[in-house]
Symmetry: C2
Subunit: 309 residues, 2 copies
């Protein structure tokens, strides 16, 4: 499949007044890719070619049906990484990530896809192909139409190609898994993490006890720490391993002395980091088993937990 | 002045068919803020209030007429920084930076304003006020109209308010000023800088000999190094001073051993860093004296210098 085929299908559907539902990896939790009634599903899964990679600039150009994890593995083989990461990475498509402006676990460090996506190609309802495929990091020629497609959930058109700025992959990653007694400590720990680590802080996520327990039950996992009302995952990524270990250890020690953190695991073992990340990454999937209605809501940090209490 | 006044002025001008030229700090080099004929100039310089700053999230909300340097000083007093920096910072307005999607010296680290600007308010030609003032880092509700105003050079409306995500300010900054013999060495040094420093690389800029000489002549400065065809400014910013000095020294030593760099100055003295940055920041202003026609052109890195040769 390619853009021209998508164009022909959409042109036909438009002329015949047939409803269309674009689908990528179909991993979205809010149901954007689930047809409501009689729609024709157009899947991008055959559009999975990597078209270009520039070793100097780190710009990756690919079709929208590429699976996120495969793209990331490709970028990492070149010393770079794809600046989106989420639990569904093994099956979600980059086109879907762009169409939904997916946030994910590295959002804190790399920001939204509005900052990383340099260009895209999309096919609109009448079959026209919109070409905004600039691969320049800085491009101010004319209105930047591509941003309308980012986060528009396929309502304006089907994204077919993407060019994305890949940052260099860190050679050193260290992780702390923390147990905390209240939400105020979570906020203070976040601020301390940002101030202590600055540019090398790559993730800082919170999970509450009920969510951790849902993951444990669903995946039959042992608890990483004893029971606390809140848990945090703090990750730093840089290029100097030896230095970062002592930095992370000093950080956690300081938190414990200040009674912000009750217990902690600090590690740079990649297997252990993957298993600890599971307790955050798999929260949405575990909750789904209990017929929870799924939202994707953003709240100001200070008032974040009030809505639950 | 405030948004309502701008709205009334634009409404009147629209009804009377009067041409309007929005002007911020009037520092743009490509003439976007210079009236062509009989336009009415609407200046934002009285709209210079900081409206809000959230210490937890680092989100700054202000009017569009705030001078960039004053905003940055304010953010730094809170432990954060404004993720745009350019030679004209002492007089350019944040509204103009947003309207032109200004790149600047920290572009490599913080990316374009499409990634940093969380919300904006703009007044369009008929006087309507468009409110996209979300202050959430992640906000996927509806189409993201604000991106159309970013980089539209005031042609769609006058930006009146901005909310911007400020990253935490680094406590340690180290700079290397390098002399190189050819453009290939510049490209290779850029790649090595990115691989060595990863997340803490905050700037990596190139200046050629003719540009350096223009700055020297225009500002009557002594040359920082002897004559080379190319110079580079490499800056790293993090939160561990002691460690970064040795990192930068080892980096430069390695470049010299590999014959990529012919001579170098390494420093973390803030006065010396400011005076070295002058040789890059003031290139556009110095060239203007010679009646050079000014462009703002972006080129792929690999072919960057061919156009000059």
């Amino acid at each position: 499949k390619n853009s021209d085929e998508i164009s022909q299908i959409l042109k036909y559907c438009n002329e015949e007044h047939l409803a269309v539902c674009p689908q990528g990896g179909n991993t979205g939790l809010v149901g954007g890719s689930v047809p409501v009634f009689d729609e024709i599903i157009i899947s991008t899964s055959l559009m999975n070619s990597i078209l270009d990679f520039d070793q100097v600039s780190g710009v990756l150009v690919c079709q929208s049906g590429c699976v996120l994890e495969q793209l990331d593995n490709f970028a990492r083989s070149k010393g770079f990484l794809v600046p989106v990461d989420l639990g569904a990475k093994g099956s979600c498509h980059i086109g879907g990530n762009v169409s939904t402006n997916a946030g994910g676990l590295k959002f804190l460090r790399f920001g939204s896809l509005h900052g990383s996506v340099l260009g895209l190609e999309a096919v609109i309802a009448n079959g026209d192909i919109i070409d905004c495929m600039s691969a320049l990091k800085k491009d101010n020629t004319g209105y930047d139409l591509k941003h309308l497609f980012i986060g528009s959930e396929g309502t304006l058109g089907i994204v077919t190609k993407i060019s994305i700025q890949c940052p260099v992959a860190p050679t050193s990653v260290n992780l702390a898994f923390l147990g905390l007694n209240n939400f105020q400590s979570v906020i203070e720990t976040f601020q301390k993490a940002r101030n202590s680590f600055g540019q090398v802080l790559s993730a800082c996520e919170m999970v509450d006890l009920a969510s951790i327990q849902a993951v444990q039950d669903h995946f039959n996992l042992n608890p990483p720490l004893e029971e606390f009302p809140f848990y945090m995952v703090v990750e730093i990524a840089s290029s100097c391993q030896g230095h970062d270990i002592s930095l992370m250890e000093a950080f956690v020690e300081n938190l414990m002395q200040n009674d912000l953190v009750a217990n902690a695991i600090v590690t740079n073992d990649s297997k252990q980091m993957i298993s600890l990340w599971k307790f955050r990454e798999n929260v949405p999937e575990s909750l789904r088993q209990n017929y929870v209605y799924t939202y994707d809501v953003s709240l100001p940090l200070n008032n974040f937990y009030e809505i639950i209490e």
